[in-house]
């Protein structure tokens, strides 16, 4: 079916105001949170019902035109950058809560429901949805499922995959499937988990069954300042060795602190080289004792200053500073790359020293924000895109950091996914046989590779982003803003 016929078919699925084809209307859909890449889709279908999505996928399949689902477009790996001349199926209006059973602690939601809306749903029943990516006030559950999103509480609570019990989806060839169920336990292979993190390569989730968890009786949030990043990293190891299991352990370096301070004034200790946030959670009596242990451990760790959140407002301010860090860095630099890599926690100090050395070698500033309990680094590489070659130099550094993570036995991504950004590194982390298995799984669900084509598994030319043009740019599929 030629493209124009596909547009005509789509026009029969949704009314004209929900089928965008004019350049002006498409502009808003050209990029995502990884702003270096941009491409223009042929059309955007704004779905309002499950059937809209199924019909649109079937039409694309019949026409052999690539398509991609999009939520709020907050992907940091380019996962929601449209395929040039493909179809975007926008899911924001599929934002209904289909079922909520507080007794069983289960909610069935549509993919366009915003992450925090699930927590709001549970709140009157003392429940919340644990995965908390920094973008949780806007990002959608559908996107969280596609990229197995994380957040600040993963060490104790896990990632999105650990909170998804069931999924109903339409596969790329139009087949509707039901995976998992609504129990914490299940019989048979856990195929719902396999759908999570598939980055849209299998199809589109239509209904997602989530588990909610009881909100802890109390939180105790402690802020400790250190004279070096190394000292803050060592403190994390001490906390783990002490047998405590905090809900979150986060570190920010001086540049990230400066940025957060400028953006949202969280009143972090001034002049700290590094800041450690440790949050305990649980039953009142238990946490009271944990808190004493924690304060002793931090006292022995050489902290230059320690503060304890006095109340919920204080706690919210501490977290606001941390969660705003990515965007806040925009105040320090016109452009920046958010990197996402994982190292074994015990090698955190080594990794940070290496990143500092790389930063010096390239003369590029790097701000560090990371989920220390998970060994999940988020170096923010600052550059000025107006300077000739600056973006390329920043990408060289970004690639060196990812190779460092692989070399230390870690991962190329902790929570942002592979997307467009890291396809060539997937091959450095996994063997040919592993990748081949991934590719065969993709082809089993999507024989003509229409769903989110070009992401995650697509062949990346050797060199990739360290050699200027992105392979898809070279191929004329996408272009840079």
């Amino acid at each position: 079916m030629p493209q124009e016929d596909l547009i005509a078919t789509l026009a029969r699925i949704v009314p004209a105001e929900r089928l965008l084809t004019r350049p002006g209307a498409l502009a808003a859909y050209e990029s995502d949170g990884l702003t270096s890449f941009r491409s223009r889709p042929r059309a955007v279908v704004i779905a309002e019902s499950r059937q809209d999505v199924v019909d649109a996928v079937r039409a694309c399949h019949a026409a052999n035109v690539p398509f991609m689902a999009r939520g709020s477009g907050t992907s940091l790996s380019g996962g929601a950058v449209p395929i040039e001349d493909g179809i975007v199926i926008a899911l924001n209006r599929l934002n209904r809560i289909l079922r909520f059973d507080p007794e069983s602690r289960v909610a069935v939601v549509e993919p366009g429901v915003v992450n925090l809306a699930v927590t709001a749903l549970g709140a009157p029943h003392g429940l919340y949805y644990a995965p908390d990516p920094s973008s949780q006030s806007v990002c959608t559950i559908g996107g969280n499922v596609a990229f197995n999103s994380g957040g600040a509480h993963c060490f104790r609570h896990g990632m999105t995959a650990n909170h998804v019990l069931g999924i109903q989806a339409v596969l790329a060839d139009g087949t509707e499937v039901a995976l998992g169920g609504d129990s914490l336990e299940q019989a048979g292979p856990d195929v719902a988990a396999l759908f999570v993190g598939s980055e849209g390569l299998f199809g589109i989730a239509l209904e997602i069954t989530l588990r909610l968890v009881p909100r802890p009786q109390v939180y105790r949030t402690v802020l400790a300042a250190y004279a070096s990043l190394q000292a803050a990293g060592d403190a994390v190891s001490r906390v783990i060795r002490s047998g405590l299991l905090p809900g979150a352990m986060e570190i920010m370096d001086s540049l990230a602190i400066e940025a957060a301070e400028a953006a949202v004034s969280p009143h972090y200790p001034a002049d700290a080289a590094a800041l450690l946030i440790v949050e305990l959670e649980g039953e009142d009596a238990q946490v009271a004792i944990e808190f004493d242990h924690l304060m002793r451990v931090i006292g022995e760790s050489g902290a230059t200053e320690t503060r304890v959140a006095a109340d919920e407002e204080d706690r919210a301010r501490i977290w606001k500073g941390r969660k705003s860090a990515f965007s806040a860095v925009g105040r320090l630099s016109p452009d920046f790359i958010v990197q996402d890599g994982v190292v074994p926690r015990a090698r955190l100090g080594e990794a940070l020293a290496a990143i500092e050395a790389m930063s010096r070698k390239h003369g590029i500033r790097v701000a560090n924000v990371f989920h220390a309990g998970d060994g999940n680094l988020h170096p923010l590489i600052l550059y000025d895109g107006r300077e000739a070659g600056a973006h390329d130099r920043a990408e060289v550094l970004a690639a060196e950091i990812i190779r460092l993570c692989i070399g230390l036995g870690g991962s190329i991504t902790g929570e942002h996914g592979v997307g467009l950004e890291k396809r060539q590194f997937l091959r450095e982390m996994y063997s040919e046989a592993d990748i081949d298995c991934m590719r065969r799984l993709r082809l089993a669900m999507d024989p003509t590779e229409l769903a989110n084509r070009g992401k995650k598994l697509s062949d990346a030319a050797a060199g990739g982003m360290s050699h200027g043009l992105h392979p898809l740019e070279r191929a004329g599929i996408i272009s840079r803003a």
């Binding site: 914490l184 195929v191 991962s411 996994y430 046989a433 592993d434 298995c437 089993a444």
Partner: protein
Amino acid sequence: MTISPASIEELRQAVAAHPRVSLRGGGTKTGLSSPVSPSPVAQGFSPALIDLSRLSGIVAHTPEECTFTALAGTRIDEIERVLAPHGQYLPFDPPLSAAGATIGGTVAAGLNGSCRYRYGGIRDFLIGARIVDGRGGLIASGGKVVKNAAGFLLHQAMVGSAGRLGVLAELTFKVFPRAESRATVRVDAGDLAGTLRVLSAMQAARFELEAADIEAPATVWLRLGGFAAAMPSRLDGVQRAAGAPSNRLEGEADAEVWRAVREFAWMPPGAALVRVPLTVGRLAGLDTVLERAGVRRRYAVGGNVAFIAWTESIDRLSATLETVGLTGQVLRGPAGRSLIGAVRPGEFERRVRMVMDPDNRFGGDA
């Protein structure tokens, strides 16, 4: 014919060399480890049983990382012995460890214990695996770090796959620090409705329980873990909130209760052991039909799973489960019927199986 590979390489060769294989770990879940092929002899080839108990050993344990890697045939009790000196444990509370259960068999069965209620099940702690596929190829999924969004979560799909997608060769887990002390509250809730009210009260008070089991018809078992110094006031709180007569079990008495639960010591000899995932909302409906059948049963993980001791024909239980729309997994019982009741193996699963085992060596298409 039984083959006992002692290395991953030998395992690969064993899979490749036989047109139909079935798998066995510690042999504690006979309903899953017995050969499933429908008369393979009649189809002209002899089935091979791969016994994984020699593919054993802890490959790495990094206490600082809270991770370990073990070969699939490693016994659970051996892993627990290695973790314990570092104050760590397996939070998914794998059952049948004293009986000789292996880590691979536990993952393949997807079998969690009661104390998984606190932090999660196998799926929440398995971070990587090496898998031998249906053509003897070795595939790695996941990794060795606790957080990882690269690749597909194929290793998590192996949880509960019962050997139909591939052979687990090596597994990597994250683990947690073990609580300093534990204690149990036993509540006499009067009747089943009373037990559900107790669970509801626990949730409303936001207690963080290690386990919340119902022993039908009317007893609730609640376990707490944490610092010993906090335990008395927490136990007081739980007993107060329970709103029904209760008593405490501490020290060895607490340990003994849960050791017995882990080994299914309450099962009458000769009964089939059937596991049924469910939700609290569907518990009462299931219990009504089980009560009528007069069988012993226990609900674990806050009402998310039933364990049933079934002494009659499995077909009858299958029909019963079908009527209430639930699926059962036969852990111990007659061979060849690992899933009963409302079983709807979907198209997605079929496609995954075609990728992992195109020649149907593992009998998933049987």
